[in-house]
Amino acid sequence: MAFVNMKNKEVQAKIVYYGPGRGGKTTNLEYIYSKFRERIKSDMVSIKTHGDRTLFFDFLPFDIGKIMGYDVKIQLYTVPGQVKYDATRRLVLKGVDGMVFVADSQIEQRKKNILSLKNLQENLASYKKSIFKVPLVLQYNKRDLEKGGVSLLPMETLEKDLNSQLKVPSFPASAVTGENVVPTMKKIISLTMTSLQNVMK
């Protein structure tokens, strides 16, 4: 939950990238980090295993400037996607203000996407948060694979599987090439800030 520092006129908000393992959450953050290198003062923090899988989380602080006189600091986090890391995944969700769900467009990942979204709903519920109320954006990642001849889940199938009830903004994307990575982030920041602004007024 966002912390507003009245004294320093600063708002800190937490946005978490969620989704199945090897879906591209870390790659999203790495792309953002490389793209906005000059605006991000600190290094990206990654807690990884030897196999380069996210063990705990990645963390990237991002200053987006002033909104209504407040300096807004967005903290971008990822969670580990692998099923076995549910305990640490839940810890990272504490105090979340906005979510990006990164789905894997590959056909064989269809079930994993659905299970991961269900897991997100359960983990948010453990903090008494409803997935229908938290600012949320869906990203259908790895669309670039289509050019390499890999057949992917059609956008309509992904929408039907994941977004038929949520009805939140969604983007086809490629974290590797950077396509729609920044629009996804801008969308979730704007949704998050709108939900905060309503309270700040």
């Binding site: 939950m1 912390f3 520092n5 009245m6 109320k133 905060l196």
Partner: protein, 139 residues
């Protein structure tokens, strides 16, 4: 399942005056005792208040994110082995040490200090500061 409607902001709120009082406690009880840097953070990793001796150039936002996650992980480990909590959380380094102290369910106090300060004195000072911060809430 009952959901909370207030999903936007922290359950606690701190006014300018309270933040100043907290910063004064951090300055007077800890920085003046030789501590290099001190952070009051919440369990989600937000920085609530911060003071240092002017010589520190640490990446505090990353430190706060890692510290809250580390604390949460250790706390969960404690529960797994049947402990309510581990009372001493301390990392010793060659030149810098980090001490974690739980203030209440929402807040953690992170202290970074060097060789000049003994762990015993630090724990005493931290306990005093934690008491003062908690008194502020209970008033």
């Amino acid at each position: 399942m009952a959901y909370e409607d207030n999903i936007s902001f922290t359950d606690y709120s701190l006014g300018q005056e309270e933040l100043e009082r907290i910063e004064n406690v951090l300055e007077e009880d800890l920085i003046r005792s030789g501590v290099h840097s001190v952070l009051l953070i919440d369990m989600a990793g937000n920085i609530i208040a911060q003071r240092d001796n002017g010589d520190c150039d640490h990446d505090l936002y990353s430190l706060a994110a890692l510290a809250s996650a580390n604390f949460a992980a250790v706390d969960t480990m404690a529960k797994i082995v049947g402990e309510e909590e581990f009372s001493l959380l301390f990392h010793k380094g060659e030149n810098e040490n980090i001490h974690f102290s739980k203030v209440n369910v929402e807040f953690l106090l992170i202290t970074i200090f060097g060789k000049e300060v003994s762990l015993g004195l630090l724990r005493l000072k931290v306990a005093e500061a934690v008491q003062k911060i908690n008194d502020m809430w209970n008033r």
